[in-house]
């Protein structure tokens, strides 16, 4: 494997970047055009789905490239939710699961956004044909038309749910509470690690998103400091700031390599969990650090609603909780690295 973009990945990245440049996220965290529709048309929501099921037959590396660009543009689309659901369905590989994939429905995995592989899962009750219970803080549920629900050791498919939007710290990836009041559901199969698999793949993909966030923050801050003058000179010529930005760049160099290796590992299967933990725990912290530095180094303007950096701060902070905080992921890493407590 190479940790550089392949040619296909370079082209994919450019295509996504072009789409997002045409549809920038506003400071309110909304986006004008139908970006999600365009991503679907470009086949980018079904990248890892086999071609015979109507997908692109690509891998998680490609998914990570898209996630990185979506992070860089902090685009409010339900991409991560789709990643989780697709990963779970691919892992299940049962006939009804394949059917959901083939249908192309926007599916959501109904677990709290703050879940992580190895952590506890919510308890919805299944009685054989119906589901009852509530799951809080589910990502990207508002757009879903198919709900994958872990209950009693199996995964279930519900076609309807009561989705209550929640005021979210990260308005570009709002969470919602999802309730099932005895709604009809189809059993997709034994969980068999499908949810854990989805959360682990999600963590690797999220790491790429975080690299995109961090790079935007660094690039935007550098550009601002080059043109902002104080004390008769560009602020970017002040050495203390230069050194901090150099340190941040160094962190991003490590984060980028870790995220790429983690995405690759989801495809090739070697060290998939170890590298997902390494990448997600590192990239989460780098993205938060980058966003916090961006706010600080923009000075007052970075504290205003008018400047988009606040969207990145909120996304970075929310991402550092989503799919496992760095501390929780390191706890998962410990036995994999043979470093027992």
């Amino acid at each position: 494997m190479s940790l550089l973009d392949t040619e296909v990945e370079t082209e994919l990245r450019a295509a996504v970047a072009e789409l997002l440049a045409d549809n920038p996220t506003t400071v309110d965290g909304t986006v004008g055009g139908d970006v999600w529709g365009s991503l679907r048309e470009m086949g980018l929501t079904t990248l890892p789905v086999p071609e015979e099921l109507g997908g692109q037959g690509a891998g998680w590396r490609e998914v990570a490239v898209v996630a990185e660009e979506l992070g860089r543009a902090v685009t409010p689309v339900p991409f991560l939710g789709g990643v989780l659901a697709t990963a779970a369905l691919l892992h299940l590989a049962s006939d009804p699961a394949v059917e959901v994939l083939r249908s192309g429905a926007d599916a959501a995995l109904v677990v709290p956004l703050s879940s992580w592989a190895g952590g506890p899962l919510p308890s919805v009750k299944a009685d054989g044909t119906t589901l009852t219970g509530t799951v809080r803080s589910v990502a990207d549920a508002a757009a879903a038309t198919a709900f994958l629900v872990p209950a009693d050791g199996s995964l279930w498919l519900a076609r309807e749910a009561e989705v209550t939007p929640v005021t979210s710290l990260d308005v570009t990836r709002p969470v919602a509470d999802v309730s099932f009041a005895g709604v009809a559901a189809v059993r997709l199969g034994d969980d068999g690690g499908a949810v854990a698999h989805a959360l682990r793949v999600g963590a690797a993909v999220l790491a790429a998103e975080q690299v995109g966030i961090a790079e935007w923050c660094l690039t935007t801050t550098v550009a601002y400091l080059k043109q902002r003058y104080q004390f008769g000179r560009p602020v970017g010529s002040f050495q203390a700031l230069k050194h901090r930005l150099a340190d941040l760049w160094q962190e991003i160099v490590l984060a980028r390599a870790a995220a790429k290796a983690a995405a690759d590992a989801q495809d090739c299967g070697v060290d998939a969990e170890l590298l997902a933990c390494v990448a997600q725990s590192l990239c989460a912290e780098v993205a938060v650090h980058a966003a916090e530095e961006a706010v600080q180094l923009h000075g007052g303007i970075g504290m205003t609603w008018e400047h988009p950096v606040h969207l990145y701060l909120k996304r970075a902070k929310a991402d550092s909780i989503a799919l496992g905080t760095p501390g929780r992921l390191r706890a998962v890493l410990a036995p994999l690295a043979d470093l027992p407590a």
Partner: protein
Amino acid sequence: MTGADLLERVAALLAEHDPKSTDRLEFLRARFDAGLAWVHFPEGMGGLGLPIALHGVVESALAEAGAPDNDPRRIGIGLGMAAPTILRHGTDEQRARFLRPLWTGEEVWCQLFSEPGAGSDLAGLATRARRDGDDWVVTGQKVWTSSAHTARWAILVTRTDPDVPKHRGMTYFVCDMTAPGVDVRPLRQITGEAEFNEVFLTDVRVPDAYRLGEVGDGWRVAQTTLMNERVAIGGRAAPREGGMAGVVARTWREHPELRTPELHGRLLELWARAEALRLAGQRLRDGLAKGHPGPEGSALKLAFARLSQELSGLEVEFLGEDGLRYHDWTMRRPEVVDFTGGDAGYRYLRAKGNSIEGGTSEILRGIIAERILGLPAEARVDKDVPWKDLPR
């Protein structure tokens, strides 16, 4: 005058104006006239010319008697910044006109210093004041003005001579916020709130009688204001767990189910640092009481900002699922600032401002390095160039 004398004076005030039966404003005016507003101010200006250390005696005695206070949080800029500047640089007429209603809270003050193009570099400001008869005509844009929408008066720094180096061409005024040409617009922050305002000044007429200090002397006058701001921010007394550390500690205690060893270690480290910060504040006040102000105020502000940010960041992470939620994005215009209010997300976002407002942490580090540690200044490129020729 001793502490005992002072207590007698307080007793006399209370005897003549029983807080239970006296109108609040009337009581505050009487307190001011009795020299018990700020005892370190001169006689006739609300004080008695006493050491500042004695002021606590008055505050305690009046609080114990249930006397009303002047709601200092609402009028902090007047008390902390405008008043010491007027006292030091104002004329007798200005002191007589402004100090009493400032202290009683009848007139709220705001500060028109920062500009979009001159943040940390106050001396780079571009708001122009041109002399016209007995008035000055002021045009420009100010930003980060808290209380502008409730303020009657502002302290204002302007550029009166663009042809001399920047520190020498500034003049300091009191500005009537109700004058024509003053336009106050809310400035929304990343929290969703608008604590601050942008203030657009268009041909605002300011009488020369409202000038503080000499023409061209605005930089020096502004130093008085800023020095007092820094002391005010760094020097507050606080009980253990008085600030953000207490908020986060309570959240921790309420949620045993969310605790992890890693967060526990980080919380303890921050809690210990917060306790040390509290003790450093106490040590600073011990020094102030002995007449040795000490330079530690800037350390406290630096440490306070960092701690608030780390603690509030930890709290959001600790809350996990609930940390992903936010109480309300609706724009509001709060009258007072509350660093520890709202929910964890609000505190996290609001704390980001602590290292920017009132002097950024970067500016503060430079001041510490040069003025306290005595490290050499960097070569300045903007010292001897006319303001109008500086790159912007």
